[in-house]
């Protein structure tokens, strides 16, 4: 009888300890897998055909894909509105590799993504990708071209004829486009609204708003440094536009 009671106690204690161990394993598993869950869940759900090379005219699409990748690979903004985390281009290694994987899964070839990666390294002053760098890496992703739109500030590029003439090594050409004729993928350089060259910002035209005065841009560092933004509106009077074509 005593032997039976002993065995019963042992069995009960073993059962309870086993449950505790299972709970602890679940807790540890949850802790280990939650930090980059946003990035992982996104990259696990997006499955598109690899090997389809985007056309040069898809510059707007490439810029949108880059913006989406940064957003998907960085943490969500906490509720309340004061803190901003989502879409930060000042990345760490985990976000970096998540971004590259995501772009590859979106259909860009490994070669283009590698060029994008190298371009990103050159495109980050002070640790983050700003407006001109964002244009440069988006163009690189769309075209494979790594030669333009990085070395100078937007104002200098806009004021310097090199954008139109002297960049012979580039695979791309840039044609000045009237603001009444802009289309998705055109590059806009801020021209200070009332006078050319008094401000410095560059973006990619996304769409015209119904008021026909403002447009939506895809860009970085507007209005917050080091963050991508694909829904910001701007008056088109304040920009000078260029159309990008493959040579």
């Amino acid at each position: 009888m005593a032997q039976m009671s002993k065995l019963k106690t042992i069995a009960q204690n073993s059962k309870l300890c086993g449950r505790l161990i299972i709970i602890m394993v679940i807790v540890i598993y949850y802790m280990l897998h939650s930090t980059y869950s946003v990035a992982q869940s996104y990259s696990n759900t997006v499955r598109v055909k690899v090997g389809t090379q985007p056309e040069t005219s898809d510059f707007a699409k490439a810029a949108q894909d880059v913006a989406n990748a940064y957003k998907a690979c960085t943490p969500e903004d906490p509720p309340g509105g004061k803190t901003k985390l989502n879409g930060n281009t000042r990345t760490n290694n985990a976000v970096e590799s998540c971004t590259l994987n995501l772009l590859q899964e979106r259909g860009y070839s490994g070669d283009f993504v590698e060029k994008f990666s190298k371009r990103r390294e050159r495109a980050k002053p002070n640790g983050c990708v700003e407006c001109l760098g964002f244009n440069a890496i988006s163009l690189t992703l769309a075209s494979g071209d790594t030669t333009t739109l990085l070395q100078n500030s937007p104002v200098e590029i806009l004021e310097n004829p090199s954008l139109l003439n002297s960049d012979r090594s580039s695979l791309l050409t840039y044609t000045r486009t009237d603001s009444d004729d802009i289309q998705p993928g055109d590059i806009g350089f801020a021209s200070g609204c009332d006078s050319v060259g008094s401000a410095g910002h560059a973006l990619i035209f996304k769409r015209l708003l119904p008021d026909t005065i403002r447009f939506e841009g895809i860009e970085s560092s507007y209005p917050t440094t080091c963050f991508v933004n694909d829904a910001q509106t701007h008056p088109k009077d304040c920009y000078t536009f260029f159309r990008v074509r493959k040579k």
Binding site: T9, N13, I23, N126, E130, P154, I213, C238
Partner: protein, 242 residues
């Protein structure tokens, strides 16, 4: 001693103790995890604003002048990015308002700066709009409200130009829209009598759907006024569309 004997000797009440210890460990783990996550969520640009503090800690005017304990960029720092950076000064006491100090740069900035943090705070953060000159040594001077220098330091910008001046652009675009397109958020607008859109700066185009021109004109003027805008600031072109 094997496991069977251990469980046997522990008995039921010892098992409960074991549960309590394990439970406490689990609670601690959860707590530590959430604290860790909370810390991870602090952005690199977030500012630790004090929202409340004991009134005894509030500095009286007699405590001024304050002292600068740290700056960013640091004194004599080289190769500072010449873009729209934030210049920060951390102080030893709470600064009550943006009228408690004066911040100056020499040579003068190409554009301007704005103080972006709230007060009271033990820091002053100045956002440089439009960026800095390249390859230039700037002297920043923090003065108290009486004009007495609290701290002065130097930093030198890099040769590489900045890539963006988007904060300056934000200001310019906002001012431009307010000046020339104050009704842009409300256009295009349609009623049974007319459609109205902006054609160019300070110029509206009205498509009249009825033949009573004076009635339409009055309705348009009333609509413009209803948004707090003086109709005389705009040219209005009326086009028949009936």
């Amino acid at each position: 001693m094997n496991m069977e004997k251990l469980f046997y000797f522990l008995g039921a009440h010892k098992t409960m103790l074991l549960f309590a210890i394990t439970g406490a460990a689990l609670v601690s783990l959860f707590w530590a995890f959430f604290i860790f996550n909370k810390r991870q969520n602090i952005p690199d640009q977030s500012l630790p604003f004090p929202t409340a503090y004991p009134s005894a800690q509030k500095p009286s005017p007699s405590q001024v002048p304050f002292q600068a304990v740290e700056t960013s960029p640091q004194n004599n720092e080289k190769n500072v990015y010449p873009g729209e950076i934030e210049v920060s000064i951390f102080t030893n006491v709470y600064i009550q308002s943006n009228k408690s100090f004066i911040l100056e740069f020499s040579p003068p900035l190409p554009y301007y700066f704005k103080i972006t943090n709230t007060f009271p705070a033990k820091q002053v953060i100045a956002k440089i709009y439009g960026g800095l000159q390249t390859n230039t040594t700037y002297t920043a001077v923090l003065k108290d409200s009486f004009g007495k220098t609290v701290y002065s330091w130097n930093f030198t910008t890099s040769i590489t130009p900045a890539q963006s001046s988007s904060s300056l652009q934000v200001d310019k675009e906002k001012a431009y829209l307010e000046k020339y397109y104050p009704l842009v958020d409300y256009t295009p607008y349609k009623t049974g009598s007319f459609d109205i859109v902006y054609k160019t700066k300070s110029t509206l185009e009205v498509k009249m759907k009825i033949s009573d021109r004076e009635k339409v004109k009055q309705e348009v003027i009333d609509w413009i006024k209803s948004h707090g805008v003086d109709p005389t600031t705009h040219s209005i072109n009326y086009i028949n569309s009936f």
